[in-house]
Amino acid sequence: MDKIDYYYNNLHLLGIQGMQKNTILSILKRAKYFNDKKNNKKNTILKDYLVINLFFENSTRTKASFEIAAKLMSADILNISVSTSSIKKGETLIDTAATLNAMHPDFLILRHPNSGTAEMLSKHVQCSIINAGDGRHEHPTQALLDAAVIKDKNRNLEGLKVLICGDILNSRVARSNIYLLTTMGAEVKVVGPPTLIPKGIENMGVKVSNNLQISLKSADIVMILRLQNERMDGSETPSKREYYNFFGINEENIKIAKDNVFVMHPGPMNRGVEIDSLLADNNEISLIKNQVEMGVSVRMACLEMLKLSRQNLQK
């Protein structure tokens, strides 16, 4: 195996913002390697390393994905979810982190409902923190795996027309994807009801629209975001049926997009709200299963990257 260089000199992976193009490319390349059937066996890259999954929000795929990635790399892994932690007993987040830090983990995979939590904790622990989603801020490994899936379909990120559709306001997936895709030279457009488009988003290098039909034209990739139920009861959007009517993507309106369009969704889906069931299950257009599959490989690459950057920084 060639010498691997991720061009990354940070202890933590807190977000995509500021990440170099060559770092992203290295992660994608390495993920492709890990995703290859013949390399998909257990390795010893993280032997004797301790990984802690610290999840303050419900998660199935991300947590499982990190756990499998760590196990495939022979790390020891400990899962802590909020219902079993001492947070419920009134301990502060910093105290919890200090306690965990005292157990000398090498990686802390953190998901938290508040934006900025990963960055805050990174100042209080010695291990490497991987942000697995902080509030509405970032979800870097999701954006990386989305990019890996697109590359895997032989699409070049540069010049690619990506439409991100739905709840941009509350989405960390949207933000990480915008940082990543614009860094890689893709043309990103966001579409959604005005109530779910955050102020100033156009300054992040994306185009903005409130009209799905028009926006779908010329899209190479359509990324559909999850719209949480509590946002569809007359607060941010009037109702599920209205949302589906104006922003739901189905086998009919996807025809407006380019012929070889792909549809992605970070999951979990609201079938019949932001995406129609038939489209979600149409494996010729939908890359949703590929996204889950690629998740493990991308996270393996990220863990390896942080291991190497720590070694480099300690030299």
């Binding site: 009801p193 005005p194 109530t195 409130n210 009209n211 009861d233 007359g234 607060s235 941010e236 959007t237 009037p238 109702s239 049926r241 209205e242 009517n245 104006f246």
Partner: protein, 442 residues
């Protein structure tokens, strides 16, 4: 009380072309005030030419009396329908007949019926019923919030698809600031106006009049007149933020109009209308506790009234609406504080406006504009103008004729007019919708 309807020619007949020969035409869109021949047919205006220049035996020629003026059909931006919910107070048929008799060819109804118009099925049902009556055109505002409870946004997009022309909380304000911000923001993708009744519930709750010496002498609880401007100014900050379309209905105070003027000067998409009571009456009318003068917003000071009057001519106010609000006899036969607010307005809409023309407060051109093109622009309608190819929605008026306003003579099932017994100037001679005569004065 049963009243015999006047002549309503609502039957479908094979459309024949009709020529209004040598009639004075006032049209704001083309800035016309001249004698013309106007030819209509196939629902549309087919031509506007110099007098006696259109000749053909195929036409029905209508020769109008000397004083007759042909204007675009009047458009009324604010009408309260009691149907469904309170059909003993008024129903859709009497409402639309009143409109035709008032020269109103298009009227926009508030969503505060029972049930509330917060669902597409209500819009479809009302539209279908109105269409089958073949009288004036009914436009419908959708409820801005579900059940008008100011908590959650209605299905604005689906309501638009069903045909509503704007969104409002009816005779209540959209007050919740977060909801208002979201509604304004959401409405930008629909390009429909948000129509506000500018009031602050905490300040106006249980009040009966405008806070003033009059309310003090009468012992009525008063709401400060500045309340209106307070909400408008808050809204204007949100309009600036969201770049939305906003309309203040039945504006009644000097400070309120000033706030609109400032917003317009700043290039915001803001409009307003007022209603005849605020142009002609002030709170001195309350002096004998006559419940006919109980209105919402309440009658204001003479200073406010004068300012409203001036703002009609200078163009800050974009339209005059009737603020038609039928209230049954029982709800007005109560002590002032317990009686319901509201007055009939459609049948006095033209005359009360013309009375300002007769007293030289506004020009006839301004008056017609405020009743036709002004409201049409606010709702982005294709009517309100006498233009070749436009729908033949026309009204013929005689501004020299005078009459006395009597609630009992009005076609509504209710008779609560705040102009009861007052002399009125100007009558509707006939009213045409899509080329069909829907009202003719006997």
């Amino acid at each position: 009380m049963f009243r015999d309807a006047q002549t309503f020619k609502t039957k479908f007949t094979k459309m024949k072309k009709t020529l209004f020969q040598n009639i004075r035409v006032i049209d704001s869109f083309s800035n016309t005030d001249a004698q013309k021949d106007v030819l209509i047919g196939d629902n549309l205006i087919l031509g506007i030419e110099d007098p006696y220049s259109i000749n053909n035996l195929d036409f029905t020629v209508i020769k109008s009396p000397d004083n007759a003026i042909l204007i675009p059909g009047i458009i009324d931006l604010r009408v309260e329908s009691k149907d469904p919910g309170e059909t003993h107070t008024d129903n859709l048929e009497t409402l639309l007949k009143s409109a035709a008799k008032s020269g109103i060819t298009t009227l926009a109804c508030l969503p505060n019926t029972d049930p509330v118009v917060d669902d597409t099925s209500m819009v479809e049902s009302l539209s279908r019923r109105a269409k089958s009556l073949n009288l004036s055109k009914l436009m419908i505002y959708g409820a801005a919030s579900i059940g008008l409870d100011d908590k959650k946004m209605s299905e604005l997009g689906l309501l638009k698809n069903a045909g509503v022309v704007g969104f409002t909380n009816g005779n209540k304000p959209i007050y919740n600031p977060l909801l208002m911000k979201r509604i304004l923001s959401y409405s930008t993708m629909l390009d429909l106006p948000i129509v506000q009744h500018a009031d602050i519930p905490e300040l106006s709750s249980e009040t009966e009049a405008t806070e003033s010496e009059i309310s003090t002498r009468l012992g009525l609880r008063g709401v400060p007149s500045i309340t209106e401007a307070m909400l408008i100014e808050r809204d204007i900050h949100l309009i600036k933020l969201t770049k939305s379309k906003y309309h203040v209905s039945h504006i009644s105070t000097k400070e309120g109009v000033k706030a609109i003027e400032k917003a317009k000067d700043n290039g915001l998409n803001v409009t307003c209308d007022t209603s005849p009571p605020y142009m002609l009456l002030n709170d001195l009318s309350l002096s004998n506790y006559d419940t006919r003068f109980k209105l919402s917003p309440p009658l204001r000071s003479e200073e406010d009234r004068c300012f409203i009057e001036e703002s009609l001519e200078n163009g800050v106010i974009d339209a005059i609406s009737s603020d038609h609000s039928p209230q049954n006899r029982d709800s007005k036969l109560l002590p002032f504080s317990l009686s319901k607010a509201g007055s009939l307005g459609m049948e006095t809409l033209l005359s009360s406006t013309i009375s300002l023309v007769k007293s030289n407060r506004i020009s006839i051109k301004t008056a017609i504009k405020l009743l036709t093109l002004g409201p049409s622009k606010i709702l982005s309608l294709n009517v309100g103008k006498i233009l070749k190819g436009s729908p033949a929605d026309l009204t013929i008026i005689d501004i020299e004729k005078s009459w006395i306003a009597k609630g009992d003579d009005m076609l509504s099932l209710s008779s609560n007019t705040c102009f009861e017994g007052m002399p009125m100037q100007g009558k509707i001679l006939s009213c045409w919708k899509d080329g069909i005569e829907i009202y003719q004065c006997n």
